[in-house]
C-alpha cells in the first residue's frame, strides 16, 4: 500500500521533470515511462559507478534508462584528524562519510564490499534503499581481507542512509561507517545550480594508544558525545573548504544523519528552505526553517540564495554547534541585493 502511494505521488513531478529534460535529447527511458520500478528492465553491460567523497556528489542521472551498475566500497580502519590536530581511529566506507552513491529507480546495483586486509574487524553494509533482509547486511558480512557481493534493484526513489551493521552496530556507526545513496526518480531530479553532500554524525571518544582518540562505549550508551560533526571532521566546511555558490543560484543539499544516536535539527542560518524532501522521501514541504533528520535518516533541502555573504550550516540543537563542532559554511558571492536585504531603514 505504501509503495503504491509513493509511486502514485511521484507521477506528477516525474512527468514534469521528464518533459523538461526531453529537450536535452536522448530520452532513452520513454519506452519504460509509467512502468513500475520493479518491472523496469536494466539493459546493457554493467558499468562501474563513479562515487564521490563529501561534499561532492556524482553527476545527475538525467533521463537515462535503468542500467546495471557496479558499486565498489572498501572498508578500512584508519587514523585521521577529527578536530584541531587531534587524531581518531575511524572506520570507513572509502572515507568518512562513505562515498555518495547515485543511481536511479529501476537500476540493478551490484555492490562489492571489500574489507581491507589489515582491518581488525569484520564489516558489512545495510543500505536503507534496499528491499531485502538486513538491507544487504547478512549478504555482505566480510572478514578482514575478504570481499562480499550482493545485488539489489532500486525500487523506491529517495535519499537513503547506508551504514555498517556488524556487531556491535553502535560502535561501527560511531566510528564513522555511514554514507548516503540517492535513488533518483525516472527522469531525474530537477536540475539545480549546485549540489552538495553533507552527513552529520557524533563521536564518543577517549584517549587511546599513542594519543589517538578512540570510541568510548560508556559515552555512547549515555548518548553524550564529545563531537557532533558534519562530514567527519571539525571544520570540514570552513575556511578554504567552505561550500560555494553565487547570488541567484539554487543550492540542493543532500543531508544525512549517521548518528548513531542523535537526531539533528538541521538549519542554515539566514536562509529558508524553499523545498524539503521530508525524510528524504517523496513529500515536498515548502518554506521550512529547520528540518529534523533522524539518526539513520536523510533529507534533501533546496534553497535559492539571493544575498551574498557567509551562511552557517548548523544543528540548531545549538550546543552541538557552539561546543561540539557541528558547523559548516556556504560562501555566497555576487551583487548585493538591497531589495531583499540591506542594513538600515527605508
Amino acid at each position: 500500500m505504501t509503495k503504491k502511494a509513493i509511486l502514485f505521488g511521484l507521477a506528477l513531478p516525474l512527468m514534469l521533470a521528464a518533459c523538461k529534460s526531453k529537450t536535452e535529447g536522448g530520452d532513452t527511458s520513454s519506452s519504460q515511462k509509467g512502468t513500475a520500478a520493479i518491472d523496469m528492465v536494466a539493459e546493457g553491460e554493467p558499468i562501474k559507478l563513479e562515487l564521490t567523497p563529501a561534499p561532492n556528489v556524482p553527476a545527475p542521472v538525467g533521463n537515462r534508462a535503468p542500467k546495471k551498475v557496479i558499486v565498489h566500497l572498501l572498508t578500512e580502519e584508519i587514523e585521521a584528524e577529527i578536530a584541531d590536530g587531534q587524531k581518531y581511529t575511524f572506520w570507513t566506507f572509502n572515507q568518512v562519510p562513505g562515498s555518495f552513491i547515485r543511481v536511479r529507480e529501476g537500476d540493478e546495483v551490484e555492490l562489492h564490499l571489500e574489507n581491507a586486509s589489515n582491518s581488525v574487524m569484520p564489516h558489512n553494509i545495510d543500505l536503507h534503499a534496499v528491499n531485502g533482509p538486513g538491507g544487504g547486511a547478512e549478504a555482505t558480512f566480510a572478514a578482514p581481507g575478504k570481499e562480499a557481493v550482493f545485488t539489489f534493484k532500486a525500487l523506491n526513489p529517495g535519499l537513503y542512509v547506508y551504514h555498517c551493521a556488524a556487531p556491535p552496530v553502535p560502535m561501527h556507526i560511531g566510528n564513522g561507517m555511514y554514507g548516503l545513496i540517492l535513488v533518483e526518480p525516472e527522469g531525474g531530479l530537477k536540475p539545480v545550480d549546485r549540489e552538495y553532500y553533507i552527513m552529520q554524525g557524533e563521536f564518543y571518544t577517549k584517549a587511546g594508544a599513542a594519543g589517538v582518540l578512540e570510541f568510548d562505549n560508556d559515552k555512547a550508551m549515555a548518548e553524550n558525545p564529545d563531537y557532533v560533526l558534519f562530514n567527519g571532521k571539525k571544520g570540514s566546511m570552513l575556511g578554504a573548504n567552505m561550500l560555494e555558490a553565487k547570488v541567484g543560484e539554487t543550492i540542493r543539499l543532500f543531508v544525512g544523519n549517521g548518528g548513531p544516536n542523535l537526531v539533528s535539527s538541521f538549519h542554515v542560518i539566514g536562509e529558508i528552505f524553499d523545498n524539503v524532501y521530508l525524510e528524504g522521501g517523496t513529500t515536498v514541504s515548502h518554506n521550512v526553517q529547520t528540518t529534523i533528520i533522524p539518526a539513520g535518516g536523510a533529507a534533501i533541502v533546496e534553497f535559492k540564495v539571493e544575498v551574498p555573504g557567509e551562511y552557517n550550516i548548523v544543528d540548531h540543537s545549538l550546543s552541538r554547534t557552539f561546543n561540539k563542532g557541528a558547523l559548516g559554511k556556504i560562501k555566497v558571492t555576487g551583487e548585493e541585493n538591497p531589495k531583499v536585504f540591506k542594513k538600515g531603514g527605508h
Binding site: 581488525v120 569484520p122 558480512f141 566480510a142 572478514a143 581481507g145 552496530v169 587511546g208 562505549n217
Partner: protein
C-alpha cells in the same frame, strides 16, 4: 609413526540464524568418517615445546546463552601462548602438502601464508616468535594433529577468556573489560612477539592482545551478520544484554569475538587470525 587423518569434506554453512545468536551443531570432528567425498592426508608428527597449562573446569554463563543456563567445561590443557611463525615453519617443513604452493584451495584460500617469501621462508622482517597468521582452520587442525593435540573448543576458549591477571572470572570488573575493548581497537598487533604481556590467572598469555584465534567449533554460535535481531530481541535477553547492558561489558567484547567468528569460513586465511592448541587431560 604416522598419523593417518581422514578429512571429511563439508560445507561450512555460514547461513545466519534468524535469532542473532544460537548454538548450532558443532562442526564435524576430523575423525568422523562419512560417506561424503573424502580426502586423506598424511600428517608427519613434529615436536612442540610449548608449555601447556591446566585449566580447572567449571560452569560458566556463555555469551550465547538464551536462558541464563550454565555450560559445563571439563578440565583441560591449553597452550600457554599462540602457535608461532617458527613453529608453523617446522610443521611446513615436515609436511610439504601444507606448503603454500601445494595446499588445496578448499583447505586454505589464496592468502594462505600470504607474506611468506617462499614455501619455507618466513616473511621479511617478521618475528619468528610472533603468532602465525594467514592460516586456515584446516591448517590449524592439521598442525594440532601433528603435535598430538587439538584446537580448543569455543566454550573452553571463552572459559579461559573470563580470567584477568588476578581471578579466573573477572567479567564483573569493568576495568578488565574495558582493557580488552581497548586492545581490540588497535591494529597490527599480530606482528608482536608472544609472551611480552602479562599472563592471566591461569598462566595463559596473549588471549586478547595479539590475534583472533580459531576454535574447533568456531561456527557453532552464529551472531547474525546483521547482528541486531538479538539487540532488539524480545526474549533473547542475554544477547540483548551483550549489546546494551553496561554492567557486563565483558559480553561486549565477547559479542565482538562471536561476530568475528561468524564472518569466517574454514578455508579463510586472515591477517590477524591464528590459533593455539589444547588437549584433553588423560589420567
Amino acid at each position: 609413526m604416522r598419523l593417518k587423518i581422514a578429512y571429511n569434506l563439508f560445507f561450512i554453512l555460514c547461513a545466519i540464524g534468524t535469532g542473532s545468536c544460537t548454538k548450532q551443531e558443532p562442526v564435524p570432528s576430523l575423525n568422523n568418517h562419512s560417506s561424503h567425498q573424502e580426502l586423506s592426508q598424511e600428517i608427519v608428527p613434529i615436536e612442540s615445546n610449548v608449555k601447556m597449562v591446566e585449566i580447572t573446569g567449571g560452569k560458566y554463563l556463555p555469551f550465547y546463552s538464551a536462558d541464563d543456563s550454565l555450560v559445563a567445561v571439563n578440565s583441560f590443557l591449553i597452550d600457554e601462548r599462540p602457535v608461532t611463525n617458527l613453529e608453523f615453519l617446522n610443521f611446513i617443513k615436515a609436511n610439504p602438502s601444507w606448503r603454500k604452493s601445494n595446499v588445496k584451495r578448499i583447505f586454505a584460500d589464496s592468502t594462505y601464508l600470504r607474506d611468506w617469501v617462499s614455501d619455507t621462508v618466513l616473511p621479511i622482517n617478521s618475528k619468528p616468535d610472533a603468532p602465525v597468521c594467514f592460516v586456515s582452520w584446516f591448517a590449524a587442525k592439521a598442525y594440532a594433529n601433528a603435535v598430538g593435540k587439538r584446537l580448543p573448543k569455543l566454550d573452553e576458549w571463552e572459559f579461559v577468556a573470563m580470567a584477568d591477571e588476578e581471578m579466573p572470572n573477572a567479567r564483573e570488573k569493568s576495568t578488565y573489560s574495558n582493557a580488552i575493548l581497548n586492545l581490540y581497537l588497535i591494529k597490527d598487533r599480530q606482528y608482536n612477539a608472544v609472551q611480552q604481556s602479562k599472563p592471566n590467572y591461569w598462566g595463559v598469555y596473549n588471549m586478547f592482545d595479539l590475534i583472533w584465534e580459531w576454535t574447533d567449533d568456531f561456527n557453532s554460535v552464529l551472531v547474525s551478520g546483521e547482528s541486531r535481531a538479538g539487540e532488539y530481541g524480545d526474549n533473547n535477553l542475554v544477547c540483548a544484554a551483550g549489546a546494551t547492558n553496561a554492567t557486563d561489558v565483558l559480553n561486549y567484547a565477547a559479542f565482538m569475538r562471536f561476530g568475528f567468528r561468524t564472518s569466517l569460513k574454514a578455508n579463510y586465511t586472515i591477517s590477524n587470525l591464528g590459533f593455539r592448541c589444547a588437549q584433553d587431560i588423560t589420567k
